[in-house]
Every structure is written in structure tokens, then in C-alpha cells.
């Protein structure tokens, strides 16, 4: 043996194995373990699916009660036919795992504050945010409640869980999803708690905006003083077209919330603001544009005489998609629609008798209370003239390649103390803040969908949604028998005016929630005279509704106006008309804002270039179509004018403040041309008029337009650059620069990375005529041809006809491609 060469060579070999087996740095992130990742029998190559894969399979399962047949259509949508409900949910769990395992794991890790466990200490501040917000606490409440009180839901979620785990059990290590190999972690067993965590995340996504908005509004109020604040952030919306038509009578309220006597001095006063400059990374606040459209037109308005329902939830646009299409058929029911990988049942869809859809209610169900602790132990806080004890909740955050982090969360009678001496962010401004949030309460939200999947009529629909607590939604429904309805449902706080818009004092029970509005008093309308029901996140009612709805910034105005404007008086409507409406790029905001703005434009005072740019804007046809340049110019000018008007008031704060909503300036322009906020308070020697600010805004925007024009990026699609981002934000796994129109205020609410995440149109004829798609694909595997299959169609505003058929018909259908048999294993 040649010792020296042997040792040298052995060391080199071992060193290379070691190097290829660890995660090296790749730019700002970590590379996968290169040797493992590249190995064709272990790494990513194993995830490169054959483009002509055969998805036929026969699966033996111990936990099934009977056999289940699944037929996959040409879009890889499974049609599940089971002999009983639990078997159907078992198979739904199995298929979710088969096609979406990594995303289910990842999303629930985010919700549970367990990202650092797989991504390292970088993500610790995000984990701490979710832990302290009470995400795990809320999921635990729901789990305990369902385990104890709701055997049917427990059986449903247990069957789903067993299905996910059955898939995991047979999953060979080399076949784990691509992203596990990329990020270097491993799948773990599913649990019912993960399903509840996922639903907590949806509550956060749709109501968690208040977790930052309440802080921002408080800081803005403190910075401006309440009087100026109330002008800039007014709750008055002159042009509101509410969900429940204006003039509808509401019953006398059963709760009359009493405004605390001290509110003018303690709550609405101007407070000193302490700017802290230390920045802490927190999760991106839920997109304020998370919203949706839904509507149903009754038989009087349609060609067939039967209702048509449309629903398109606007959420972050991600790959793998939040949605997964499925048909579930058992002896008790048959339903089709979009499901959440992570949860049993269909979330938005239809069955043999009716169709339903949801939009976000936007009501504020999360408040902060400021606590006064006795001392640094944070064991007691001052409440109603006495010291009250907290309990401590210990949460352990595991961190990859680092020591565990222990969170000792003080639990007050409001809820977890999110911000205190141990956790602050730029907006919390040094305060001790407890969170009270309806999502913390045990909830049987899953059961709402479980029952909607089986609902036969308006009564069933009503019973199903009565169980719904958080996040508050507008549930629209249309039945084959011709009924249409919409109801805003959830646990909504009976609030006095402005209650909970800002941080409330946590020392006085007068500021507590005084009750939850009873189900019967939540806004609803059934078969209205105008022939249709609709919602697009606007305020649900006019001011005659006896409860305070929340800040106007939670309720976008213009999509609702646009939907109603395009539906009112229409007849002979078809499913194709509803598709056209759902993808409409008409800009109703600009319809009002452009003439309002032009009143203040003095053309002769503008530069030649600005005149040309303004000319292009006035020539624009008011459609946010992909190739239009007028909309880009309009948006840049409008934003720039807003900035000129509000910028001076907001300048100078180190803490980020909220900007006023666009309707505020527009309605001000329409109402009153002489409005004092227009003056730039930084110029002491003169008073600017709105005309001055408009001219300034246009000149500034013109420079931007010219720069874009030079780069050939003035068209709306180039400017907006819509993208569907992979959950890890990796560009190579995303779809970028999609040629699609729409945008803010538009029914086709497609913005940069947010938009119609599932478009569905259901015509309730005897044999249901349904269309739909989401911007993604049924497979979550970036190495599958089904990964992003629907995106181009979605971008083009096209729809797929959805196959909703009984087993024998579907089996024979020309679009049915594969058959997966689940067989009960014989013991």
C-alpha cells in the first residue's frame, strides 16, 4: 500500500464528498447540497416527469371502508367517486399530498411560525411575528373544540389526514417534491392541527391586515392629530354603491354599542409620537388588495331563465396555486370546485342543486389593546383599577443550525401580548400591545364548506354559513330552483364609531368589545327586485345600518360600482356574458377621475411634453387593456398628484404612515375645488391651490412617462408586469411579465402579483354548465407539464368547461384520461 498517495487521495475524496454534501452559499441564499441535488437517482432529476406520463394507478389502502374510483381528466382534475364521505376525504387528502405536498407543508410551517426550522435564523423575526400573533394558539383552540364537540368534523379531518399520511408512507426518499431537495429539508407527517393552522393562515390573509393597519392608523393619527386625520382618512364615501342596495331597511339592533365617555380625550386625541428607526423584518402584511368579486343574476336577467353565479377571489398569485380543482361524489352529495390543499371539502364551487362563492367582507375583527405592566416581569397589568395577572404561554422555535428560541408570550384577557419589551417593530412604537382577534376563538369553519357542499336550498345555505366565524365573507348563492342571495357572515364586533380603528386603551373595560352581532342582523338580501346580487369588497350597507363597519380604507369602492353598473338592467345574459364581465378591463375609477382631474388642468401652463402626455391620457378609451398606454399615464399622473397633495402632510415621519385612499382625493375634487389640504405646508410664503398641485403632479409624472416611453415600457402590460410567483419567490420557478390587463379598481383585478386566483362561472341549468380556471396547474411539481398549464389561458381571459358528471358518464367522457383505483386492503 502506498500510504502517502492513498492518504492524499482519500482526503481529497472525503473533502469533495463533504463539500458536495453541504449547502454552499449561492448569492444571498443557500445552494442545495450539490452532489445530492445533481445525482440522477436521488436529486432533482427524479422530479423531471415524463411529458406523456400515465397517471393510471392501483393503490391498496388499509384505512378505507370501501373502494374508491378516481378518474383524472385531461387537465389532471380528479373526479372522486366514493361509497362514503370519509373515504372521499381520505382520497382527497391523498391526492392533495400526491400533487401538492411541499406547498401544504411550507404554508402550514409559515402559519405555525416554523420557517426558521427549515430556512435558518434569517426567518426568525417572521416566525416570532406569527407565534406572538397567536396563530398556533388559535389553531389549538379549534382543534380542542372540534375533538370534543364535533365528531363529524373530527372524522372528516381525521380521514383527510390519514389520506395525506398514506401517501407520505409510500413516498420513497428520492421522490420527495423538488422544493424539499432545493431547500434541503424533509416532509413530515400531516396532523389535523396543520389543517387548522392552514385555515388560520387564511384568516390572517383576509383579516390580518388590521395587525399592521391599526398600528399605522394610530401612528398617522398621532402624527397629524385627529381632526386632520379624519379629513384625510374620512369614512365618508359619497359614491358608495353598497352590497345591500341603498334604502333597504334594517331591523332595530339588539346591541347598542356605547362609546366610552373618555374616548374624546383618551382615544381620539393627538398623542406624542416617538420615532424609532430600528427596522425589524416582519412578514409582508396581507395584501390590502386581497379581495374578490362575486355576483349572481336571477332568471329574469338570463336567456335560459335560470340563475348564473360568478365568483373570483383575488389573492396573491402563487405557484403552486392556493387552489386545487376536484370533484367529490358520494351517496350523500356531489360537488365540484376549488379546494385548498391542506383542507378537506370544496371551498368555492357548486353541487347538484346550487352554486356558491365568496368575497372578503373586509370588516375589522382584530384589535390592539395597550397594556400597562406593573414591572419588567410583565406578570401583571393594570385593568379597571386593579392589577390583573397574565398567564405565560411558552413556544419553542427551532432554528436550523442554531439554538432554539423560546418565546414567553404573556396571555392577557384580550389575547396574546404581541408587542412588549421583548418584541417590537417599527410601527409598534415601544408599546405593550395585546391582540384580540376573532380568529383566536375555536371555529368550525370547515363545517361551513362541508355543509355547503351538500346544501340543497337557501335554508341549507343559511344553516351552513351560520357556522362561519372568521374571516368574515360575503357568501353568494344561486340555486337551480331560481333563488339568488348574498349574506355577509362572520363574527363581527358590534362597534361604536371608530372603535378599534386605532390602538385602544387596555386599562378600562369601557373599551372592550360589547358583543358580537347576531347572525340575523348581518346584512343579507334574497331575490332582490333589481334581479341580481353582487359584492366586490365595498361596504356592505349604507350608513343606516346600525353598526359601525370599519375604516373606509378597508372597503374599495370602485369595483363594486363597476359590477353593478354593468349588470343593472341587463337581460338575456349567458355564461359567456358573465365571463366577459369577470374579465372586463373597464376602469370606472378613471371614468370619474379623469374628468374630475381635467377640471384642474391648465393646459396652457404645461410644458409641451406634458401637454402631449396629457393628450395621450385624454385620448385613452378607459380600458386597462394590455397594450394601452393611456392607463399607465393616467396612473402615474394620478399617483403623482396624490403625492403632491398629501406628501407634505405625511413627510417628516420616520415611521411609515398610511396614505389616504384614492377615493378621498377624487371625491374632494368632485365636491369642492377649494380644499385646504392642497396647500403645501412646507412653503410658508404662498398657498398652493389644487390647480398648482395638479400641474406639479403632471410635470413630475411626465418625466416618468418619457423615461418609460424611451425604454418602450409605457404599455400597461409592460408597466404592470404581472407575475405568478413561486412560493419561494425563485424567478426560474415563476411566470413573469404576463401580457394581461386589469388592475386596481378593475373587475379583472389583476395587479402585479395579486388578482383573480380562481375564476368560476356557473349556469344553474338542469345539467350544470360551469366554467373556471386558476392561474396555475394541478401539479405542484415544477418538473411536470401540468405545473403551470392554465396560466396562458387565464392570461388570455379564456375559460375551461368544467366536467361535472355522474360516474358512468364521466368514465366514458372523451376528456377522461386516467383511472386511479383505491382498493381496500384485505387484512
Amino acid at each position: 500500500m502506498r500510504i502517502v498517495p492513498f492518504l492524499v487521495s482519500a482526503t481529497l475524496t472525503a473533502g469533495l464528498v463533504f463539500t458536495l454534501n453541504i449547502q454552499l452559499k449561492l448569492g444571498s441564499t443557500k445552494a442545495p447540497r450539490l452532489g445530492y441535488f445533481l445525482s440522477p437517482q436521488h436529486g432533482f432529476w427524479k422530479n423531471a416527469e415524463k411529458v406523456n406520463s400515465n397517471f393510471d394507478a392501483s393503490i391498496l389502502a388499509n384505512d378505507l371502508k370501501g373502494d374508491v374510483d378516481v378518474y383524472m381528466d385531461d387537465r389532471l382534475v380528479p373526479h372522486i367517486y366514493a361509497d362514503n364521505d370519509e373515504d372521499a376525504y381520505y382520497v382527497q387528502g391523498y391526492l392533495h399530498a400526491k400533487y401538492r405536498l411541499w406547498q401544504m407543508d411550507f404554508q402550514t410551517r409559515v402559519a405555525a411560525g416554523r420557517l426558521s426550522e427549515v430556512a435558518g435564523a434569517d426567518k426568525l423575526s417572521i416566525d416570532r411575528f406569527f407565534r406572538r400573533l397567536g396563530m398556533v394558539y388559535g389553531a389549538e383552540q379549534t382543534e380542542a373544540y372540534i375533538n370534543e364537540k364535533n365528531p363529524v368534523m373530527k372524522a372528516t379531518v381525521d380521514a383527510y389526514t390519514a389520506g395525506v399520511n398514506a401517501y407520505l408512507k409510500q413516498l420513497a426518499p428520492e421522490d420527495v417534491p423538488f422544493e424539499y431537495k432545493l431547500m434541503n429539508f424533509e416532509p413530515e407527517s400531516w396532523t389535523p392541527k396543520k389543517t387548522y393552522l392552514f385555515l388560520m393562515f387564511m384568516s390572517y390573509d383576509l383579516t390580518g391586515k388590521a395587525a399592521s393597519a391599526d398600528l399605522q392608523l394610530t401612528n398617522t393619527r398621532d402624527y397629524l392629530g385627529y381632526d386632520l386625520f379624519d379629513q384625510l382618512y374620512t369614512n365618508q364615501q359619497d359614491s358608495l354603491d353598497p352590497i345591500i342596495p341603498i334604502g333597504t331597511k334594517f331591523a332595530k339592533p339588539s346591541i347598542v354599542p356605547v362609546k366610552p365617555l373618555s374616548s374624546d380625550t383618551v382615544y381620539l386625541k393627538k398623542m406624542p409620537i416617538v420615532d424609532i428607526a430600528k427596522l425589524v423584518e416582519t412578514p409582508e402584511a396581507p395584501d390590502p388588495n386581497n379581495g374578490s368579486n362575486n355576483w349572481a343574476v336571477g332568471g329574469t336577467m338570463t336567456k335560459s331563465g335560470r340563475p348564473i353565479l360568478a365568483s373570483d377571489p383575488h389573492l396573491g398569485l402563487n405557484l403552486p396555486s392556493l387552489w386545487y380543482e376536484v370533484q367529490i361524489t358520494t351517496p350523500t352529495h356531489s360537488t365540484y370546485g376549488a379546494s385548498f390543499p391542506g383542507s378537506p371539502a370544496v371551498i368555492i364551487g357548486f353541487n347538484d342543486s346550487l352554486a356558491w362563492g365568496v368575497t372578503n367582507a373586509g370588516r375589522d375583527v382584530l384589535d390592539y389593546y395597550e397594556l400597562k405592566f406593573k414591572d419588567t416581569t410583565q406578570n401583571e397589568y393594570w385593568f379597571n383599577g386593579a392589577w390583573k395577572s397574565v398567564t405565560k404561554r411558552v413556544e419553542v422555535i427551532k432554528v436550523k443550525d442554531s439554538a432554539d428560541v423560546i418565546e414567553n408570550i404573556a396571555m392577557s384577557h384580550y389575547g396574546p401580548v404581541m408587542f412588549d419589551a421583548y418584541y417590537q417593530n417599527p410601527q409598534s412604537n415601544g408599546r405593550n400591545l395585546a391582540v384580540k382577534w376573532t380568529a383566536h376563538n375555536a371555529s368550525t369553519g370547515v363545517e361551513t364548506f362541508y355543509q355547503l357542499n351538500r346544501a340543497k336550498n337557501i335554508d341549507d345555505y343559511s344553516k351552513a354559513i351560520q357556522l362561519w366565524k372568521c374571516p368574515g365573507q360575503n357568501f353568494v348563492v344561486a340555486t337551480k330552483t331560481g333563488a339568488i342571495a348574498i349574506k355577509q357572515q362572520g363574527d363581527f364586533v358590534a362597534r361604536w364609531d371608530r372603535q378599534g380603528d386605532f390602538i385602544m386603551p387596555g386599562t378600562d373595560s369601557a373599551y372592550d368589545w360589547q358583543g358580537i352581532i347576531p347572525f340575523e342582523e348581518n346584512p343579507m338580501i334574497l331575490n332582490p327586485a333589481r334581479g341580481f346580487v353582487s359584492s366586490a369588497n365595498q361596504k356592505s350597507t349604507d350608513a343606516s345600518y346600525p353598526y359601525y363597519l370599519g375604516t373606509a380604507s378597508s372597503f374599495p369602492l370602485y369595483r363594486g360600482i363597476s359590477v353593478n353598473q354593468q349588470l343593472i338592467g341587463r337581460t338575456q345574459l349567458t355564461a359567456q356574458d358573465m365571463q366577459a364581465l369577470q374579465t372586463s378591463n373597464y376602469n370606472v375609477f378613471a371614468q370619474h377621475a379623469r374628468p374630475a382631474l381635467m377640471k384642474f388642468v391648465e393646459m396652457n401652463k404645461l410644458s409641451t411634453e406634458a401637454q402631449r402626455i396629457v393628450g395621450m391620457m385624454t385620448q385613452w378609451n378607459l380600458y386597462n387593456d394590455p397594450s394601452e398606454k393611456g392607463i399607465t399615464i393616467f396612473k402615474l399622473i394620478w399617483d403623482s398628484v396624490e403625492n403632491a397633495v398629501w406628501g407634505d402632510e405625511l413627510a417628516g415621519s420616520l415611521i411609515p404612515l398610511t396614505e389616504p385612499e384614492s377615493f378621498v382625493l377624487l371625491e374632494q375634487m368632485i365636491r369642492d375645488s377649494n380644499f385646504r389640504v392642497a396647500d403645501d405646508i412646507r412653503t410658508k410664503d404662498k398657498i398652493e391651490s389644487l390647480k398648482d398641485q395638479v400641474r406639479l403632479g403632471i410635470e413630475k409624472a411626465t418625466l416618468k412617462c418619457l423615461a418609460l416611453e424611451k425604454e418602450n415600457k409605457l404599455s400597461w402590460e409592460a408597466f404592470k408586469a404581472t407575475r405568478v410567483l413561486h412560493l419561494t419567490k425563485t424567478p426560474a420557478l415563476s411566470r413573469l411579465n404576463l401580457p394581461i390587463g386589469g388592475g386596481e379598481h378593475i373587475i379583472n383585478a389583476t395587479r402585479e402579483n395579486n388578482g383573480p386566483s380562481w375564476r368560476m362561472v356557473v349556469h344553474l341549468t338542469d345539467e350544470i354548465e360551469a366554467y373556471g380556471l386558476y392561474p396555475g396547474g394541478q401539479s405542484g411539481n415544477p418538473g411536470s407539464p401540468f405545473y403551470d398549464t392554465f396560466i396562458d389561458y387565464w392570461t388570455a381571459g379564456k375559460y375551461y368547461r368544467l366536467l361535472f358528471l355522474p360516474k358512468e358518464k364521466l368514465k366514458q367522457h372523451e376528456r377522461t384520461k386516467w383511472h386511479i383505483q383505491f382498493k381496500k386492503a384485505v387484512a
Partner: protein, 116 residues
């Protein structure tokens, strides 16, 4: 003859042991070492045999998978790694990594016994 046999053995054994996904991806390092001890050839020849055996296997497997996949995944991975989105470069890198490690393992083994 032993040289050719070494290449074939390395490729076959590397493939066979790779089927067991529970074993580490670098298991062929151990088997290459054993093959090089069992079939002693000159160090340079041994390195080439190990490199060719693993490299050709990895290149072949990757190429076959990639063709059947219509380059869907390789094009994406070649942007992440970053190889300019070239699936050819990615297959080459895959083969190179396998070859280098396979060669070194066989080289190490060749120093244990003198070739007869």
C-alpha cells in the same frame, strides 16, 4: 481488459446501489473504492475507469430523463444554479460532478494494492 471491466463494474454497481434511495447519494464512493481494491489497475487508469463509469452513467441517466421531460425542469434548474438556462450545461455539470468524485474514489482504492 481489467480497465474495461472496471468501467462497466463501476457503472453497474453505482446504478444498482443508487436504486436504494435510503442510502446516501455518495454510496458509489465506497463501492468504487472496493472495486478498485478488488481489481487493481494503475492509478491513472483507475481514476479514468471510476470517472468514466460514474460520469457516463450520470450523463446517460440525466440525458434520458431530460429528453422524456422535454427539458421542462432542467431549463428551470439551469437558471437557479446558474447556468444560463442551458440544459446541456446542466447535464454536463451533472456528469462532471459524478465523474470527478467517482474518479477520486477509484484513485484512492488503486493505492491500496499494487497492480499485478
Amino acid at each position: 481488459m481489467k480497465f474495461i471491466l472496471s468501467i462497466v463494474l463501476v457503472a453497474l454497481v453505482t446504478y444498482a446501489i443508487g436504486i436504494y434511495g435510503n442510502l446516501p447519494w455518495w454510496s458509489f464512493v465506497v463501492t468504487n473504492l472496493i472495486i478498485a481494491i478488488a481489481l487493481p489497475i494503475k492509478p491513472l487508469q483507475s481514476f479514468i475507469a471510476g470517472a468514466l463509469g460514474v460520469g457516463a452513467l450520470w450523463a446517460g441517466l440525466a440525458f434520458g430523463i431530460d429528453l422524456a421531460n422535454n427539458h421542462i425542469l432542467s431549463t428551470k434548474v439551469a437558471q437557479i444554479l446558474p447556468l444560463g438556462g442551458s440544459y446541456i450545461a446542466l447535464i454536463a455539470v451533472t456528469a462532471f460532478v459524478g465523474a470527478l468524485l467517482g474518479g477520486l474514489a477509484s484513485l484512492t482504492g488503486s493505492f491500496v494494492r499494487k497492480p499485478e
